[in-house]
Every structure is written in C-alpha cells, then in structure tokens.
Symmetry: C2
Subunit: 412 residues, 2 copies
Amino acid sequence: MTSNTELSPPTSKQLDASDQLAAYRERFVEPKDGSVIAYLDGNSLGRPLRVTAASLATFIQGDWGTGLIRSWDEKWMDEPTVVGDRLGDVVLGAAPGQTFIGDSTSVLLYKLLRAGLEGQPGRNQLVIDRDNFPTDRFIVEGIAAERDAEIVWIDPDPTAGVTPADVAAAVGPHTAVVLLSHVAYRSGSLADAPAITRLVKDAGGLMMWDLSHSVGSVPLELDAWGVDLAVGCTYKYLNGGPGAPALAYINSSLVSRLRQPIWGWMGASDPFEMSANFEPAANVRRFITGTPPILAMQPLKDMTELIADVGMAAIREKSIALTEHAIALAEELLVPLGVEIASPREPSQRGSHVSVNHPLFADVTARLWEQGVIPDFRPPHGLRIGLSPLSTSFAEVQRGIEAIRDVLVSLQ
Amino acid sequence: MTSNTELSPPTSKQLDASDQLAAYRERFVEPKDGSVIAYLDGNSLGRPLRVTAASLATFIQGDWGTGLIRSWDEKWMDEPTVVGDRLGDVVLGAAPGQTFIGDSTSVLLYKLLRAGLEGQPGRNQLVIDRDNFPTDRFIVEGIAAERDAEIVWIDPDPTAGVTPADVAAAVGPHTAVVLLSHVAYRSGSLADAPAITRLVKDAGGLMMWDLSHSVGSVPLELDAWGVDLAVGCTYKYLNGGPGAPALAYINSSLVSRLRQPIWGWMGASDPFEMSANFEPAANVRRFITGTPPILAMQPLKDMTELIADVGMAAIREKSIALTEHAIALAEELLVPLGVEIASPREPSQRGSHVSVNHPLFADVTARLWEQGVIPDFRPPHGLRIGLSPLSTSFAEVQRGIEAIRDVLVSLQ
C-alpha cells in the first residue's frame, strides 16, 4: 500500500514536540513487537499502565497473599467508597460519601434507575434518547416493562446530540428520571450537562448521567451541576482493564432517601451481623450489593493517581488538541474520498473521540486491525477515532488517518 | 503462652507425610515473613496461586496491552461461557452451554431467582431456610416484597442443616423456587442435594442451589441431580481473589424459557448490532448483563486448571481427612474447655469447614489474628475452621487448634 498524499510532517511532529503531556505516554504498556501502529480506541478500552502489573503482583503477595482474610477488616470493606471518593475528588467533582465502585455499568444503571423511579411516587415517565448506548436503552426498556413506567423518547440530531431544547420538550409533571449520556457513544457530542440538569430538576425530575464516554477525558462537576445520579465505565479513559467494575454517584441529598432493589449483604447496615432481616446501610453503601471486586479495582486506582498528577484541565486541553488534529486530518485526507465527519466541529461540544462515516468502513476497519491500526466500527457505517489524552500522540493520529485513507483508496 | 498439653506430634506429621496432595501446597503464595502460622479461612478467601501474578502480567502485556480492543473479537466475548463451561466440566458436573462467570453471587442470586419465579406462573412461594447466608435471605426478602411473593421459611437444625424431610414439609403446589445452600456457611453441613432436588422437582418447584461453600471442595453433579439453577462464589475454594466474579448455572431445559430482569447489552442477541429494542440471546448469554469482568476472571482460570490436574475426588478425600483431623483435635483440646463442635460428625454430611462454638470466641479470634492464626468468627459465638484442601497441611490444622486452645486458656 503506497501513500499517495503526504501531509507536511512537521504538523504532528511539532504538536508532539510542544505537548506538555507527551512524557506520560511512556507510562503505558508498549504493545509487543511494535505490532500496533496507531491505537485509536482508548474510548472503548484504555491501555494498561506499566505500573499495573507491579501493583497487581504487590497486591497478590501482600494484601491478598499475606493479609488474607484480615485485609477485609483492615481495608477492603471500605475500598469501594475509598476509591469512589478519590475518583470523586480527582475526576467527578464530587464530595465524599456519594460515589462507589462496583458491579458493571449496566447493573448500576438498573439499580440507580429503579431507585430513582421508585423514589418519585406519582411520576411514571423515564426519559431517554434513541441514540443512547444500547445498554442504557435496554435497561430503561426492561424497567419500564416491569414497573409499568412510560418511556419518553428524545430523537436528537445524530451529530449534535441531545440539546437543552430537546430535554425541555420532553420533561413535565410526570417525569421521574431522565437518563442521558454525557458524551454520545457514536458522535462524541458533549451534552450541556449543567443546563440540562437544571431543566430536569426544575421540572421535578431526577437527572441521571451516564458518564461512560466522558469520565477521565472531560472535566466533571457533578456536585456543582446538581446532578442527582450518575454511572460510568472505568475501562475507557480510566484504564481499569476489560470489564473493570463501574462507578456510581448518588447525590448526598438522595443517599438516605433512595433504595435500590438488589438487597445484598454488602448493602446491609451491618454486613457481618448476619441479621434476620435486611436493613439498608444509612450511607452510600446501601447501593452496594455483593462482595466488592477488590482485585479488579487495582488498575483503576493506578490511573486515578496518574490523573491526579496531571489534572483534568490539562487532560481536556490535550484531548481537544487531539480531536482538532484528527478533524483537520480527516478533512484533508478523508472528506475528499466521500467520508462524512459525524462529530461536532466545535471543540466545546465534543468529547475525546471523533466519528467519521463511510459505507465501506466495516471492511476498512477489519483491514486496519490487521495492520495494527485500531479504531472501532459502529453500525451502520461509523468509524470511531478515540483519542485517549494521556496515551495518544499526534503522530499516531496522523498514522491512523493516513492508514484509513490508504485502505479506503485501495477498496474504492 | 505455653502449651499445656502436647499431642503426640507424629499424628499430623504422619498425615502430611502420606498426603498425596502435599506437594500442591507449594503452588500457593507464601505469606511474607512467615507471618501466617495457620490459615484456616480458605472457606472465606482462598489463597492466591503463585502462577496468578505471572498470568496477570502476561495478560496485561498480551491480551490487554497488545491485543487491545481486538481481544474482544478474538476471545473475550466468549470468555464468560468458555470459563463457565470449563468450570462446568471440571467442578460442577455440567455439560457446556449452561454456565457462565459474571457479576457477584448476590446479583446472580437476584437475576436467577427472579427469572425462576417469573418462569413459574401461578406459583408464588419462595422457599428458603433461616440459617441460609444473609445475602440469600435478603435477596429473597427483596424479591418477595417487590414481586408480591410469599416466603416459606424452613427452620433447620443448626448443626444438621436442611434435610429432605424439612424440604418435603415446605414444598407444595404453590412452590415457585427453593433456594438452599449446598454447604451451610455456619455449620458446614452438606445438604443431600440429589434427594432434595428430586423432592422439589416432584412438587413442581425449581431447585436453586447456592454452591458458594461447596464448589471446589465437594464433588458436584448438577446435570445428574437435575438441578434447575445454581450460583456460587469463586473466591473461596476456587481462589479467584477478593470479590472475584461469581458463577451461574441454568439447566439447559430452562435456558431459552427463563428471562432475567436486568436487560444489559451483553445479554442481547447481538450486542454489537446496537438494535432499537432488547431481544435476549437465545443461549445462556441471555443471563449476562454488562461487560464481562475479563481481568478479574484470570485467577479463577488458574485454579480451575489446578483442580483439573488433581481431580475433585482426590480433593474431597483430602478435605474429609482435614476436617476429621480438625474434629479429632478439637475434641481432644477444645471440648474439655467448654467448646461445642457445631458441625456434623459424619464426614459425608459436611463440607470443608468445621465450626466450633464458645462464648469467648469473638475475643479469641481477634487475638489469634494478631499471632497469624487465621480462622474467622461468625456471630454469636462461632469460630470457623476452613480447610482448603490444596493449600492446607495437617500440621497447620494442629498449630491452629493448639493456638485456639492456648488463647482460650489464657482468657478463661
């Protein structure tokens, strides 16, 4: 495959040379044998930190292998909320006592959405958009069916995402909970969370954000925005590893008022009292169900500390520079081949990935993977270029987009 | 602390010398600095395998760090059922297509119990015993409240556990699901699973076993016994690590008939179709909800292969020898001090832990932990001696029980 068009190389090189965060790239595990030329899917699965293998080895020898069951008393019982609070401080803009780590995003969606719906007596509508991630829609569909709730569907513009006007038109006196994704998984559009949250609360609804595609790449201020409920994925920009446990946030004003449906022992007021009846914990632990996934939380802890070192403002700045670079390259190299840019052009309106559409992208993605250029594909014809701020270089973006162009040319 | 009574040392020494499985103890991580004298809580948290740190390091560099998102297509999507089927073959007596790994035991209890209840129209009773583990009772309590089901309580003899006669008296034409623990978490009593399962099914009920305290230490034949549903914990005798994901079994006759309530994308017929409505997978994947905990499954995989090498029959034989030894030592050293043995004396009627009761055992346990002798305590006054067959020596049991005696003497 030959490259027909060459960008002037200094562009990416200059951007990398002046990148204040460039050195952090070395913190991540280098793929074996130089087999990955451009990893453009950090929005789907973040790369492992080098330190994580050592953290896990230390954990196995120490807390698990030596502390053994004593570690539950000494630290693990509090681990879901200790790690949650740290994430709240570093990433979420959340004061302590509102956040924990556990389950999967989907299970947390179920628990918190039911808690919210059942905490809104007299209100039976769940509001969600048709472009939301499937698991969010499916969970809403399932809960609506079993709890006899009504689903109010928002039909957003596929590129712009859900706007405050869309939400204003959807909420009313029957609104129980509104569930939206902060960054849309397809287009990467970034919702106006403060304005939408205010609108929903003014209508008497609870606002629940799915932060899966924003947490760790976009600054969050859950407390300041007045968010009621939130869940998020930790294996994307929080680099927790495949299937890492998820995060949940319940605003302090709701913690003792809401009750979730899965009454496991770890959500009980005293798990080791082994009492006859279930009495939920008074604090955020009432939203926990089973034994917390201690081992699986370790990689996430490493990434949280790295983010604390760098700061979310600098991460966002690099994220914007990366997506700007990707869009500029796509306009120069892909648009002439019939590719459509399906993400917002305005940096303040998008997260850390850029979507491009072309009818051949399913085939293109398969060929790219074979040559170590890794975006991902979302039906019907979207290719997502995910740009993890701490592990991605500008040159990598260029290599990736040049490869997309080359494969597209070869297939046309 | 001086030892007032010395057992003739050859007993434990001889047992260790003739132990065919003795060499496997070296497969486990040695606690640092010889700080653990006797680990008697493998029934609560199994020790890590040495190979697990290496497995995780390989995983981080390879499947995660190099395969990156491609690993989902290449292997991870099937990992919950591949690991489940392997566990089914090695440990559960379950043919492929009925088992998966995911969530926590508590969340799986919720999903499967609701699936079972809702799959039994016209039957509204959930049967459980008052000595069952708290999370089992709490989940039943929560589901009964939300689904308007009736709970039928069995009051078993605290040492003998739930008998077929207890079950026969509790089931009838309204029985939807019976949920029992195969090995009782307190007494270690082993239920007669084949007889009880037959009784429940004859009454038209579904039989659901919680295998948390038996899986990996007691041979299981779920298919042969005709079990309908089962869940189990993987961090006890399967050494999956603290908070490891749990296992679920759904009999093949029920897989396509039952439906669980948490409709996540990974339970959909085609997760990456991103379809408008939820259509459950036709196979056992329909019981999965969120993104499978791939990293967290690695330790469990290592232990499953070790069990496959050894075989469940040999593991059970050693387990019985260990509990027999513990009971003999307890009778000699502890009963004279007022301790009551609260586990069945007949080996065929107990699992791999032995419970002993004494009013001072809360204090005794705290002092034992400080000196590196680690059983656990269960209110009101039970001390559990958990004997993980592959990692526990007979001498370790003796050291542990001598330490219990010494502390008890010092406190009396």
